[in-house]
């Protein structure tokens, strides 16, 4: 088990190293140099020179890269050029919205997908299965931002159950949760459709196995056999997809936050793009990629917890 974790940790470190190199290189190839790009065409040479100096652009490239990485490890992501505050503070304020939103959406996706997947697998080949599968096909084809607009039209403007946008903060958790409900549903439904299909396929795959036949032979109904023995064995592909989905939800939230005017990471990054604040763009992208890589790592660990055979392999 220790060897397995160690192997995963090494691969986590290498992935982060490679990702940081890629992001740093992309920002480096910006037309002109970052300082003149950020200040625009009308900036005087003195201002550009001053910013170059502040950003340390006069130092050699490898040194700047090391400086950036060392800063991030110490929790220092640099200072936003437009907001004049540390990027770490900006990100922390925004994560308070984006993380709960992604978590809420994933929870909803699981709550919808598991009953749907179990139902379809339990009655596979029948009309219930066909209905669930048809619904998931439509769910997969839904662009979440359009679905979000329809939700606003129905539940915010017509019935006035949920707010149409904005975020009141967590002072009143109820109000905060209400503001995140429509965005979370919009994010969750297409993901739930994918998850339900994967779960159904994995469950049906287990139905042909000997242990399910044994369970049926000792008198369990097909539904009971699936719940008690099939589900755990179907979890590996389901967990892989859930891991990918969490990263997708974090990135997908970038678009949904725009529909609902939520002050999350997504809006931060778009404001940074329009204001040409490369320091914020670079750091937020690194944080998003870090989140994806970290979730992959955690899913790998969870595999080992679910499937003991994996612990012996590296």
């Amino acid at each position: 088990m220790q060897r397995y974790i160690l192997g995963r940790l090494v691969s986590l470190g290498l992935s982060l190293l490679a990702a940081s190199l890629v992001i740093f290189a992309v920002i480096e190839v910006v037309p002109g140099d970052p300082a003149s790009y950020m200040l625009g065409l009308n900036a005087s040479e003195d201002t550009v020179a001053a910013l170059r100096d502040r950003l340390g652009l006069n130092q050699p490239v490898p040194l700047r890269y090391l400086h950036w990485v060392a800063g991030m490890i110490a929790g220092d992501f640099g200072q936003s050029y437009t907001y004049k505050v540390p990027v770490a503070d900006l990100v922390a304020q925004r994560l308070v919205v984006s993380l709960p939103l992604a978590g809420y959406a994933l929870a909803l996706a699981v709550l919808i997908a598991f009953p749907a997947g179990l139902l379809a697998a339990g009655r596979h080949g029948g009309p219930t299965d066909a209905a669930v599968m048809g619904a998931t096909q439509v769910g997969i084809a839904l662009p979440n931002f359009w679905f979000a607009m329809l939700l606003v039209l129905a539940f915010a403007l017509h019935w006035r159950i949920f707010p149409a946008g904005g975020f009141p903060g967590w002072d009143s958790p109820g109000a905060g949760l209400r503001a995140l409900t429509l965005p979370a549903v919009a994010l969750a439904l297409p993901q739930a459709a994918i998850l339900a299909r994967v779960l159904r396929a994995a469950l049906i795959e287990t139905l042909g196995q000997d242990y399910i036949r044994t369970a049926r032979a000792k008198g369990l109904s097909e539904g009971q056999a699936i719940l008690r023995h099939g589900l755990r064995n179907a979890m590996i592909p389901v967990m892989t997809i859930m891991g990918m989905q969490f990263s997708f939800l974090l990135a997908g939230a970038i678009i949904i936050e725009n529909v609902f005017y939520l002050p999350g990471l997504g809006r931060l990054i778009f404001q940074a793009i329009t204001q040409r604040d490369l320091i914020v763009v670079e750091s937020v992208v690194m944080i998003l990629v870090f989140a994806v890589i970290l979730v992959t790592f955690l899913v790998d660990l969870a595999y080992a917890a679910i499937d003991p055979r994996l612990r012996r392999r590296v």
């Binding site: 084809a141 662009p143 931002f145 990263s247 970038i254 529909v259 990054i269 990629v289």
Partner: protein
């Protein structure tokens, strides 16, 4: 299942036909503004109504199909063009450094969701349809590389490949002459799936302003412009969204049907 495949085929061809016809004819001029005609509901003159500038929505949807299909198609082309050779190489050199480099490179790209790639590219070069193509295309590369490698690895163990090796053919030549034709059907299926994902991704990117820029018509941007108008004239927001859903649904159903037809071995529960 046959009905689902037929529906998928029909929807996909409808979208393609709309895009092709829009090259020579649309019911109205896509760029003509007619403020007096703004936000009209569907009628005989304007089948799907007009938007906030009085432009004909049906015409804009036809022209938007062109952008969506072009972006998604080129992105699939990038994925195929780079991913398939890499996947073939990794399988032919299984367990070597080349294999390891390709697979770790794949993992690295997977850590960058296409939206994040698009954000990076846009932050540096500014938004455009070309950048959307590059962002979606880069994301497609590891998908095709993995599918190709996976399928090729199982082919390398088969007797007819062994026979080709014994006959003195090199691994590159075997990859091109024997492996590639046998993974082609799988690539067609995967291509359809990536094509539909590309249409969704293009819509999302142009919705947030990272994709096609005016005056290039685009479904995603139509939705972005409709957002503030949604209470006054819901049809402005509903039709572009329906166009996306029906096209993506059609491609997915077609992909499922093709998988069943082209490769019976793949006939799985999903």
């Amino acid at each position: 299942m046959r009905a689902a495949f037929a529906l998928g085929l029909g929807l996909s061809f409808a979208a393609l036909a709309a895009a092709l016809v829009s090259l020579v004819w649309t019911p109205h001029d896509v760029t003509a503004l007619a403020i007096a005609e703004r936000l009209r509901p569907p009628s005989a003159a304007h089948w799907l109504g007009t938007d906030h500038f009085g432009r004909d929505i049906a015409s804009m949807l036809m022209a938007g199909a062109r952008t969506s299909i072009a972006v998604a198609l080129v992105a699939v082309g990038i994925g195929l063009g780079l991913g398939v050779p890499l996947g073939l190489l990794a399988a032919a050199r299984r367990g070597t450094l080349a294999d390891e480099v390709v697979m770790r490179g794949n993992d690295l790209i997977f850590a960058f969701p296409s939206l994040v790639i698009a954000i990076l590219i846009t932050a540096v070069f500014g938004p455009s349809a070309v950048n959307a193509i590059i962002a979606i295309g880069i994301f497609n590369v590891p998908v095709f590389a993995r599918v190709t490698r996976g399928a090729a690895l199982s082919l390398w163990t088969l007797d007819f490949i062994r026979a080709a090796e014994v006959a003195g053919k090199g691994r590159i030549r075997i990859s091109a002459e024997h492996i590639l034709p046998n993974v082609a059907s799988l690539l067609v299926v995967q291509g359809t799936i990536q094509f539909s994902l590309g249409i969704l991704a293009e819509a999302g990117l142009s919705y947030v302003g990272l994709g096609a820029q005016p005056p290039l018509p685009s479904w995603g941007r139509m939705l972005a412009e409709a957002q503030t108008m949604v209470t006054l004239a819901p049809h402005v927001a509903i039709f572009p969204g329906l166009a996306i859903v029906l096209t993506v649904l059609g491609l997915n159903l077609m992909g499922d049907g093709l998988r069943d037809r082209l490769d019976p071995r793949l006939r799985r529960a999903a």
